[in-house]
Subunit: 121 residues, 4 copies
């Protein structure tokens, strides 16, 4: 599904306003936000705790399960945006740079069709 036109900058401003209105910036240390990303990631993962891989892909065919999964994924990214705000990170930039690093670590010819970690390729 194509994402509608939000930029990361717009989303960062939305989540920043949410925290400021509630005077929550005081709780948003980088340590606490990193913990929060991890906690939300774990809640997303919990949805797939007992299924196998093919079954996990079908789980979102059910609309109520899909809704829950979308909410958990959103929570992960919301805290990632809060983290970017607090650490003053240009997230698009960081992603593009990291994708460049990944392209070097995983050259197409060596990594094609293989799930091995770069240091064992």
């Amino acid at each position: 599904m194509p994402d509608h036109v939000s930029t990361l900058e717009e989303l960062k401003q939305t989540v920043a306003a949410f925290a400021e209105e509630r005077e929550w910036v005081q709780y948003h240390s980088l340590k606490n936000l990193a913990m929060s990303i991890s906690i939300e990631a774990s809640e997303l993962m919990e949805r797939f705790q007992w299924v196998d891989n093919p079954e996990s892909n079908k789980l979102v065919d059910d609309s109520s399960a899909r809704q829950a999964v979308e909410d958990e994924l959103a929570d992960v990214v919301i805290y990632a945006l809060q983290f970017a705000n607090r650490a003053n990170i240009d997230l698009s930039d960081a992603i593009e740079r990291k994708m460049g690093i990944n392209a070097i670590k995983y050259p197409i010819d060596k990594s094609k069709g293989r799930s091995d970690k770069y240091d064992t390729l």
Copy 2:
């Protein structure tokens, strides 16, 4: 730092192409991607394992620590984008809807300056 103009849609296409070129889509079950988000979130968190909250905010003043932190945050969001691709999720939409839910769970007057969970407010 204002994010430059990337939309989530552009970033989703970048990470999709990366996986397709390497024939990695076969490994990208929702279960595996949820695990991957969690693993990367944990690597980000590890950077702040032994510091306290105020110290965690200063950690990114050092440019080599900042680089590492930005890379780990990017990895979290890259896998979130891969997940959105595989589950056919409009991520901007999901974030905006979840922010609406959060606004109801945490009304400004009840949650201002408090870190309590919504069910104890």
Copy 3:
């Protein structure tokens, strides 16, 4: 494989001595130790990131993979023991009490052969 005769009490004392000799108790807040358990759990999970369920069981047939998995599992439990030390928890007691709670949440007749969460049984 039957575990040799160590009691949790003996193991708790071993890990307590290790931290005290290194003057690490100052870093062992409950927050930091909970993070540490989570970080080590994630490192264990990383070993199984891209395999499916049946393959994950065979992974420990290889002796070098087994060694790595055993080390990661040990790290999780070592931090759990440090946590029990710092929070003054009788861990055997806590486990036995929690098993009693689980037996009530998951009655044999309702939960047999099902992976459903207790609130949906």
Copy 4:
């Protein structure tokens, strides 16, 4: 608090019987159990999400918070025991061996009073 006399072997047998009676061994792949340890670790961590380090130590002074924390810690160790059962690991052995490795990685004279990772000592 000294742990009462349970050995890891006794606890492993208790949790094994629980899974067998419910025919849950089919769900207990090493991949799923590693995920489960991580999910429970995250629930423990959530208890300390917004507090700072000194406050985290006081949190267990409250008896209802303590009960919740003990239950979450127990869940982590219960799944670690299930994992040891399924992977046929002597957990006491693994812990003692890993403590030996840690003692070499972190010599007392170099690591005393420092939270640095072994590769930067």
